[in-house]
């Protein structure tokens, strides 16, 4: 929807006069939406528009920062291959700067003349931002003037003589006064004033559009932003809004027309731009010198570490191929001078190793033998036939990207080590730009239009996960919310425009930039919302575009669990394993995986993965790599899963759309599964250059970049494929595959790294279920399943569990003999500190004599004691939990008593006279009590307790010729398509966005799991039951595919009857 008629605001055209053809112009005060609510165009749009209008150049000069300059630079120097509009123009002057609001309440724009000037700007912005809250700047003229060298200064009107003199004294001929004509009375006054200063003091003037947007049609968006900034509605905004839409990049002839009295002031912009030597690509990034042992160079030391590592990895003689690949890699690394980068990561990993923190590289680093040799990754790229060029390529000239996962519970130690070693001045985290997403864009725009908040909330709720799409697809939706059509149309149009605009900066999950020189010389740094953290003003894409090297310090829960597994195996079973030394290709492990017996296993524990496993039947490590990559949203949306499985099962012949695809897709039976394959396909059959393919990869991995470029990609792919003789319908199919792949597809190397963790966790689960369960429970929260599911699963695999008991339980779950002792951490409602205190006290002073001794020694609050009693943790003192709770409740232990260190409690371990009045506890009540405190009961499953009641109901059902309840153990004996009734406890509910409204529930009874598939119509009807009940009764149909059993639900109902009825049906004596 066009809100302003394009061209309507253009001035009446006049005939060009003589001499005007030679006038050039550079916009020196371009402002983008990285001025956060004070600019209405993306930096890319500003640059593209300047190129389109044939400007001689443009500068991106945002408020109090350099947030958008990298994006503008990329557009001006190397735009996307798939951009549909303008390409690089020779001699186009792209400049950068920033506009600063000083505490003296004047504004100046600064531009660096050279690299020194650039560093000064970075330092100034950092100083202004570091000590200030979000959106504020703490910078005064006194801070600015001593750092004025190598900078151009533009004093923003209104001008005063004093300010002009003060700045001129310092900046001299580097001070300019910008003027503009935007058809407001105010700008007339500014121009008049500037002419006076020019006449009186020879002030240097130049012309600018003072643009807030690249085209006038963006005025409504700008107005909406202004209202958001002021937190007002459009009706109230009045003079806060710009008077007209003139603050945009005007066509040259219009500018000439407007300034025909002073064309020299247009030309002077080019002269100013030519004074500036600095370009962003002059930033010379120096990685910190690694701590080399004396006498070594970085090259030699890396070579030495690599070969030492290889000796360790390959215990026999090094294969010739490995040596060749290693030499090739070392050569490229030396040429590109990346040694210090590898050595820095090596040092960080060495620190982690020294602290016993488990880690593993992921992503493309697994393509490198060097990374494998020095221990950054654990997958052998030679054996896996992975390509180094996918990691580092001379042609691509892009910095390597090494992501390393550390144990999730200990990543902070690694981050603190980096800060300690390199200091805050040399290490900072990369930011993420938080943008307006659908719901936020709609909410904010609607508020600006004055739509009542209650209505806005209702609309947002209606949007759900589908966002604006749902609103667009529902006809006349505005009537439902009682909003008038014009307001609705405008809100929708503007929310759509606002979508993707930057809102503020966030902190990247783990991206670090480490530099040799102070980081503030290179990029401004500002305070992050997390206490004590600072972020640079660029995000990971900007850092990549400027070829800076970052490291990603990420976290993974499974690494914590595996490290704990290895510790337990070493300490209790005398088995010394590491990730790299686990017995490979163990058939028993693969048998377990094929049965989808993978609760708790890394990556393949989800419902979708478990459904695929019996069909894919992994037999070796590469099959696991495929499995990990296959069940991802990318391949799922691209429709690759079923063709692959059919081909794998021999039900479908392997075919290729084109003969050139055969070598690429042979490994995966003609179906693209990995990201690299998609890249190679477009090179092979769409004629992409490697550069274009790489650009495609980056577009696919960035949802914001995808937004505007996918159409260009489509055209390019279809055109390329036509040239290769591929019919359009096949070409479209391949394009859809690529489009679906998006950023949810794994590269092969990444899948291999993950598959290694999958194998390791499967191996331990298969051979040491007690160790696996113990470690996994000690690493919670992580993964898909709650502790009760993990415990029940481990019990089914033969692990035995000992109950929680303060006389024997540590804080963590422990192995005691052949059993797992439940740890005190199971009591999640009690603070960790208090639970640790129980363990420490017992270890220091010995076992507790009796309940009185326990209470006297630990001085725990009464509520904690009650919870311990309810969980059965005090069973050593009293078996009857209810009597114990009744007794503890009479304890006069006040908070003050243990603040003073003198307990006032008069606890006597005697029977109270009223304890006979307490009702008897049934089995169901005991189970309920344990579930409430710990989340599980070791010796009885709730469904097991209910079973006799279910059997009673079965008798009634059979009398009425209705389908009786079955248990999970009976499922395999029942035929396909048999009607069935099930009862169970909900383990996991999933409704993935890719499943087209389907819902999947894993139900659990005392024998195992049951997979319930709920179609959208049933889901919509029974969804309240699903979300409000823990126990479900499911009526449905069995669907069998091979060994895979699903139940298609026809009806769902809450299982449990009212308490009274239940007590009648299942009295305590029955158990």
């Amino acid at each position: 929807m066009k809100l302003l008629v394009p061209g309507a605001s253009y001035l009446p055209r006049k005939k060009p006069f003589e001499g005007s053809q030679d006038v050039s112009f550079v916009e020196l005060l371009g402002r983008s939406n990285f001025s956060f609510l004070q600019g209405a165009s993306h930096p890319e749009e500003m640059v593209e528009q300047a190129l389109l209008l044939d400007y001689a150049g443009i500068s991106i000069c945002d408020l109090n920062g350099l947030y958008g300059v990298a994006r503008g630079f990329k557009t001006a120097t190397s735009p996307s291959f798939f951009a549909s509009t303008v390409h690089v123009k020779e001699g186009f002057r792209y400049r950068i700067g920033t506009e600063l609001h000083l505490t003296e309440l004047i504004s100046v724009a600064l531009m660096p003349l050279n690299k020194r000037g650039y560093s000064r700007i970075c330092e100034l912005i950092t100083q202004g931002k570091r000590g200030a809250d979000k959106g504020f700047s703490k910078l005064s003229l006194q801070d600015l003037l001593p750092r004025s060298e190598d900078l151009l200064c533009f004093l923003i009107p209104p001008f005063s003589d004093e300010q002009f003199f003060e700045l001129q004294k310092t900046f001299q001929d580097r001070l300019y006064l910008p003027i503009w004509r935007d058809l407001t009375w105010e700008s007339r006054c500014f121009v008049q004033r500037a002419f006076e200063l020019e006449e009186k003091y020879s002030a240097q003037l130049f012309v600018t559009n003072r643009p807030l947007m690249h085209i006038p049609e963006r005025k409504p968006v700008f107005d909406v932003q202004t209202c958001l900034f002021h937190q007002i509605t459009l009706n109230e905004a009045k003079d806060k809004l710009i008077q007209n839409a003139e603050r945009y990049l005007k066509p040259l002839d219009e500018l000439i027309n407007l300034w025909r009295d002073r064309l020299d002031l247009l030309q002077v912009t080019v002269e100013i731009a030519d004074r500036i030597e600095f370009q962003l690509d002059q930033i010379r990034y120096r990685y910190p010198n690694s701590n080399l042992p004396s006498g070594w160079t970085a090259t030699d030391y890396l070579r030495h570490l690599t070969y030492e590592g290889l000796k360790h990895r390959y215990t026999d003689v090094l294969p010739e191929k490995v040596i060749q690949v290693t030499e090739h890699e070392l050569k490229i690394v030396r040429e590109l001078e990346y040694e210090d980068y590898f050595l820095t990561l090596y040092e960080i990993c060495q620190f982690a190793r020294s602290q016993g923190i488990l880690y593993q590289g992921r992503g493309s680093a697994a393509n490198s033998v060097i990374c494998y040799a020095i221990g950054l990754t654990a997958v052998d790229p030679v054996q896996m036939d992975l390509l180094f060029e996918r990691f580092i390529s001379r042609e691509r000239g892009e910095p390597p990207d090494i992501d390393i996962d550390f144990e999730h519970s200990r990543r902070e130690e690694v981050i603190q080590h980096i800060y300690r070693k390199y200091g805050e001045n040399h290490a900072a985290m990369v930011c993420t730009v938080i943008r307006f997403r659908s719901r936020m864009a709609f909410r904010e725009t609607a508020k600006v239009f004055g739509i009542p908040l209650k209505t806005v909330n209702a609309i947002i709720k209606f949007m759900g996960r589908d966002g604006m799409r749902r609103l667009k697809e529902t006809p006349e939706i505005f009537k439902r919310f009682a909003v008038d059509q014009k307001t609705w149309d405008l809100t929708m149009a503007l929310a759509t425009e606002l979508h993707g605009f930057p809102r503020h900066l966030g902190i990247h999950t783990g991206g670090f930039l480490i530099t040799q020189n102070p980081i503030t010389e290179m990029i401004p740094v500002e305070k992050a919302s997390m206490q004590g953290r600072y972020v640079i003003q660029w995000n990971k894409d900007d850092v990549n575009d400027l070829k800076l090297m970052k490291i990603d310090v990420l976290s993974l829960g499974m690494l914590t669990a595996l490290r704990k597994c290895f510790d337990l195996l070493r300490n209790h079973k005398n088995m010394n394993y590491e990730l790299a030394t686990l017995p490979p290709e163990d058939p028993k492990t693969y048998d377990m995986i094929c049965k989808a017996d993978t609760v708790g296993v890394f990556q393949i524990e989800s419902r979708a993965q478990m459904n695929t496993l019996p069909r894919l039947r992994p037999e070796n490590f590469y099959d696991l790599v495929v499995e990990v990559a296959l069940v991802r949203p990318g391949p799922l949306q691209g429709g690759m899963v079923h063709p692959y499985l059919k081909r794998r099962q021999g039900k479908e012949k392997t075919t290729y759309f084109h003969k050139d695809l055969e070598p690429i897709l042979k490994k995966t039976l003609g179906v693209p599964i990995f990201q690299e394959q998609v890249m190679r396909i477009v090179v092979a059959v769409a004629g992409f250059s490697p550069g274009e393919a790489d650009e495609l990869r980056r577009i696919m991995s960035n949802s914001w970049r995808r937004k505007g470029t996918m159409e260009g990609v489509r055209e390019r792919i279809l055109k390329g494929m036509r040239q290769h003789g591929i019919e359009d319908k096949y070409a479209e199919q391949i394009y859809k595959t690529i489009e679906g792949f998006g950023n949810y597809g794994f590269p092969e190397s990444h899948a291999a790294s993950f598959a290694l963790l999958t194998y390791a966790s499967s191996y331990i689960k298969c051979h040491h279920p007690d160790v696996f369960a113990c470690a996994l429970l000690n690493s919670q929260p992580m993964g898909f399943y709650a502790p009760r599911v993990l415990i029940a699963d481990a019990q089914r695999h033969g692990a035995s569990f000992l109950p929680i008991d303060i006389q024997f339980s540590d804080y963590d779950y422990t192995l005691q003999g052949d059993s797992v002792r439940v740890g005190l951490r199971a009591l999640s409602a009690i603070p960790e500190k208090l639970l640790q205190k129980i363990q420490t006290d017992r270890q220091e002073k010995g076992a507790f004599q009796n309940l009185t001794d326990f209470i006297h020694r630990l001085q725990l609050p009464k509520s904690v004691l009650t919870q311990l009693a309810a969980a059965g943790a005090l069973c050593s003192f009293e078996k009857d939990a209810r009597r114990l709770i009744w007794k503890i409740e009479s304890l006069e232990l006040q908070h003050q008593s243990f603040l003073w260190g003198q307990p006032r409690e008069q606890f006597q371990d005697e029977e109270s006279e009223d304890s006979d009045q307490i009702p008897f506890e049934s089995k169901w009540e005991a189970t309920e009590r344990e579930y409430k405190t710990k989340g599980f009961a070791l010796d009885s499953h709730p469904i097991q307790v209910l079973r006799s009641w279910l059997n009673e109901r079965n008798v009634l059902y059979l009398q009425q010729r209705m389908v009786p309840f079955s248990s999970s153990s009976q499922l395999k004996n029942l035929p396909h398509q048999r009607k069935i009734r099930l009862a169970g406890l909900i383990s996991v509910t999933q409704r993935p966005p890719t499943a087209k409204g389907m819902c999947f529930i894993t139900l659990e009874d005392e024998h195992g799991f049951m997979n319930i598939v709920i179609h959208p119509d049933v889901y919509q009807r029974d969804r309240m039951t699903i979300y409000n009940s823990s126990f479900l009764e499911v009526w449905g149909v069995i669907e069998k595919k091979g060994t895979l059993i699903n139940i298609k639900a026809l009806k769902l109902a809450p299982l449990l009857p009212s308490k009274i009825e239940f007590e009648r049906l299942a009295p305590a004596e029955s158990y």
Partner: protein, 436 residues
């Protein structure tokens, strides 16, 4: 003691007790929505306990339509009954029997004038008892006071006493002292007068019920209204010739005022203040001194409005369009401040730009036509446009009706300096004003 407990269901202000003063001088409100009335000595005046309960509930339902009531010996049991056995009247000295078969959760309401203290009140005790398998209040009658004291100290003793009907809660006579003020936050902000009035009616009726309860009259009513998404405030007052308790009269006067207001944004909150007097007194003379000059002006404007005369204060507005750059207001005008908004936080600054602050300085003609006059091409030829480019371009309110104008200075044949504009995208010119 016989206690009538009313449950008004929705949170009320303490002042609502004043409404029930007609039933007994001993009335007490308890947050959030309970009113306790001691009817021991007054029930006979209303025809017995049944009648007084009926009348009290009827009156309560004018405040809250869902209101219920019950009568018991103690305040705490009366509260339990109003929630679990509404409209029931417990026989004297049979309170325990009446509540024995209620579930344990009913203990939450065993409060009366003093609610359960502490973060969660009685809940931990209830949960504790339930965790031990007890379900009914009567299960607790077997326990000794000592067991309760041992476990829950004072709370346990209070609970035991309330269960046994041994706690004395006395209701003192009520002296009205709450200001006669009503406030409402509108969940669904409104800009429609009739919808707004339906919300105001509720507040007005409540205030007038209080007046009736306290036997007082309204001299003047002030209304203040706040808009959604802004701090914009509308204010007016109505004052009939003589103090009155006639709700209809005040209602009509308020509607008249509301109709004269232009509501740009929906209203979110309003406040009504009633100036009450003991009895009907003659209105003060208009020329008698009032508090301030502003008050006198306001009163004059208010009087004029009541006589349907258009009158008010001239408020300069920061609007782009000249014709809407001032307005007539009932309230005292505020000074127009047009400059960037500066916010400080620990010596750091944030500037929120007011982009058209220059509007305040822009030249505006001394005589602005109420309706711009269209100029024919012949008339335009007679004028001399003084500038090559527009003096100002105004593109305003694109979300309503797009107003896009280029303003020029022009000289008439007579030498009169005129202010003309051209509509963007058309050839039409309009005369909008004259300069001195």
């Amino acid at each position: 003691m016989r206690i009538l407990c009313l449950n008004l269901k929705q949170a009320q202000e303490a002042s609502c007790a004043e409404v029930f003063l007609k039933f007994s001088p001993r009335v007490q409100f308890r947050y959030p929505h309970y009113v306790f009335i001691d009817i021991e000595s007054t029930s006979a005046l209303f025809g017995g306990e049944n009648q007084i309960l009926k009348q009290a509930v009827e009156l309560a339902r004018r405040i809250s339509p869902e209101a219920t009531g019950a009568i018991a010996d103690s305040c705490s049991v009366a509260q339990v009954m109003v929630n679990h056995k509404p409209f029931d009247i417990s026989k004297p000295r049979e309170d325990a029997k009446n509540i024995g078969r209620l579930p344990l959760m009913a203990l939450r309401d065993l409060e009366g004038l003093e609610p359960w203290r502490g973060k969660k009140g009685i809940d931990p005790v209830i949960q504790f008892l339930q965790s031990l398998g007890m379900d009914w209040i009567e299960d607790l009658f077997h326990f000794q006071e000592a067991s309760f004291r041992e476990r829950w100290g004072d709370l346990g003793v209070t609970l035991w006493r309330r269960l046994q009907g041994k706690e004395l809660q006395v209701i003192s006579p009520l002296v009205p002292k709450e200001p006669m003020m009503g406030y409402s936050y509108l969940e669904d902000p409104v800009s429609n007068i009739s919808l707004l009035m339906s919300q105001m009616d509720h507040v007005l009726e409540y205030l007038f019920l209080r007046l009736e309860g306290c036997a007082r009259f309204a001299r003047r009513v002030d209304v203040t209204m706040l808009c959604e998404y802004s701090d914009k405030k509308h204010y007016f007052s109505v004052e009939p010739v003589a103090p009155s308790r006639d709700l209809e009269l005040y209602r009509d006067l308020i509607i008249k005022h509301l109709e004269s207001l232009s509501l740009e944004n929906p209203l979110r909150e309003f406040e009504i203040y009633v100036y009450d007097v003991a009895e009907k007194v003659e209105q003060l003379d208009f020329f008698e001194p009032r508090q301030t000059t502003e008050d006198r002006w306001r009163r004059l404007v208010s009087m004029a409005h009541q006589a349907e005369i258009e009158m008010g204060f001239l408020q300069v507005e920061a609007s782009h369009l000249p014709e809407s750059s001032f307005s007539l207001k009932s309230d005292w005008p505020q000074e127009l401040i047009s400059k960037d908004l500066i916010e400080w936080s620990e010596q750091a600054v944030q500037v929120r730009a007011v982009y058209a602050k220059g509007l305040a300085e822009s030249p505006r003609p001394s005589l602005l036509l109420k309706e711009p006059m269209k100029l024919s091409s012949i008339m335009m030829k007679r004028l001399k446009v003084l500038t090559r480019f527009p003096i100002e371009r105004i593109q305003e309110a694109w979300w309503k009706k797009n107003q896009e104008r280029d303003y020029y200075f022009a000289l008439s044949n007579e030498g009169q300096l005129l202010w003309v504009y051209q509509e963007l995208g058309s050839e039409k010119y309009f005369l909008h004003g004259y300069f001195d």
